[in-house]
């Protein structure tokens, strides 16, 4: 068996739960040392041939670089274990060059306040709103959907914003990962909806009415 320095293995055995009763091979390493994180590895093996769908990938560039991937043998066919092992060895011993996400520099845009948001889902545009607070580059607040409300957490770097929220709806939570740019009272970008795909979003600072208003 060939080894890559700094890579360790463990096998998680199934719990007493009768569902998805399968062991899992967990491969762990320090992403900073090997030059690839578990999440990058997972995406790389899905993008390249022979295409492999791993059970998980952890480790975030710019975050916690402690990395791992999982191999669940439950539905693997005879012979595939060798293909998977060879690919893991090849990628971990000679990781592909990973793009370092560019962190924009400059004063963080000021996005605190109430925003009227429009999201263009597939074949449906819907109005939401954000109430955002900002502490330097740190972003927090509330995302009001049509029916539910959830906390916002994220960051601002120069004029780029990145934040997430999840709205509790029925027995589950609907997750939103917003990325975009902020410019002069407007924001826009894309929002990743997990299995439901991606949507475009735009936001304008909520125009508060001053004085008067309708009477009677």
């Amino acid at each position: 068996m060939k080894r890559v320095d700094g890579v360790t293995f463990k096998i998680d055995q199934p719990s007493a739960d009768l569902s998805n009763r399968t062991p899992e091979l967990v491969v762990q390493w320090d992403g900073a040392k090997l030059g690839i994180t578990g999440s990058e590895m997972m995406k790389h093996l899905l993008d390249t041939e022979p295409r492999i769908n791993l059970s998980r990938g952890t480790g975030m560039r710019g975050g916690n670089m402690a990395s791992s991937i999982g191999v669940v043998p439950y539905q693997m066919m005879p012979g595939e274990e060798k293909i998977v092992a060879d690919r893991l060895y090849a990628v971990l011993s000679h990781p592909p060059k990973m793009e370092q996400p560019a962190v924009p520099s400059g004063t963080p845009a000021s996005v605190a306040g109430v925003w009227d948001v429009h999201i263009d889902f597939v074949n449906l545009g819907v109005d939401h709103s954000f109430a955002l607070e900002q502490d330097g580059t740190k972003l927090m607040g509330t995302h009001h959907g049509e029916f539910a409300t959830g906390d916002v957490n994220g960051s601002v770097a120069a004029n780029t914003v990145r934040f997430q929220s999840s709205l509790g709806t029925e027995g589950t939570r609907v997750s939103f990962q917003f990325t975009g740019t902020a410019d002069a009272g407007k924001m826009s970008g894309t929002v990743a909806l997990g299995e439901y795909g991606e949507a475009r979003w735009t936001a304008v600072k909520h125009p508060y009415r001053t004085g008067g208003g309708r009477r009677g």
Partner: protein
Amino acid sequence: MFWKRAKSSGLNRRDLFRQGGLLAVMQSLGGVEHHAQAASLELTNDMYRSIGVRPLINARGTFTIITGSQTLPEVKRAMDLASRGFVNMDELMDAVGKRLADITGAEWGIVSAGCCAGVSNLTAAALAGGDPERMQRLPNLAGLKTEVVVPQYSHNVYDHAVRMLGVKLVVVKDKSELETAFNERTAMVYILAGPGDDGPLGTRVVAEVACRHKVPVVVDAAAEILTIKPNVHLDRGANAVAYSGGKCMRGPQAAGLLLGDKTWLRAAWINSAPHHAFGRSLKVQGRDHGHAGRSRDVGEARSQGRVGPVGVVAEHHRQQREACGRRHVQD
């Protein structure tokens, strides 16, 4: 309409096949506008690639998004054989029900169009029984029961299978809420199999209360190994349990099993396709029955554990349930 046009243009069916099938004849009739030449589907091991889809090695598990599981070789054979003939679906399901009962030790079984479909069919049965007048009105619940009780741990993304019937979920957090959750509008209890189903609001506890109110309990055990003789959920007092056929069992991806009380499962089947009712959209096909209860499934279920150790408590609950009466179809 199409055949009429084909016939009037002087083509017969044999001509169609000789000319390369439907597409060719539709073009010859001017029924298809030409846009681009599509790559032809290759019926080889590269079939997916021939239409531009990259297959993958599944090192993840039985997930629907990556087509679940691979059917076992004998399932492929059974499905192929089943696709070469015609049978009456009611007669087929009757024979399959007997066979599933023999193999699993459950009173009865039916094949559904997946685990979720089984849960939906059972919800329809809890609302309409086998009454065609009620069946035709679903999901209009005016004049019918309208609520389904759900322990909080079971309120999940899959309970859409229940909610699609238009019922309101009554989510309960503890035993005292459970006791007060039942009323004359309660049609069913839905439980998600997993760590919670053996706890303080587990199937045993819930089934005891539901039984007193003559309300059926269905357990959603989609990704579980199939436990038999006895089935753990039926043994805890559930009236029915739904399994995915395309996960651990390695049957067809769009098939599932419902096991449990015969009266409930017969009502669920009447509410299912091929019958013209709410469940018509949840169609199970004849070939999906091919895999129902093959001996290898059962062998696997046994070898993968937890088939036996149910014991005295379970027997007690079963007796209690029987004493309480199994036939709860709404009157």
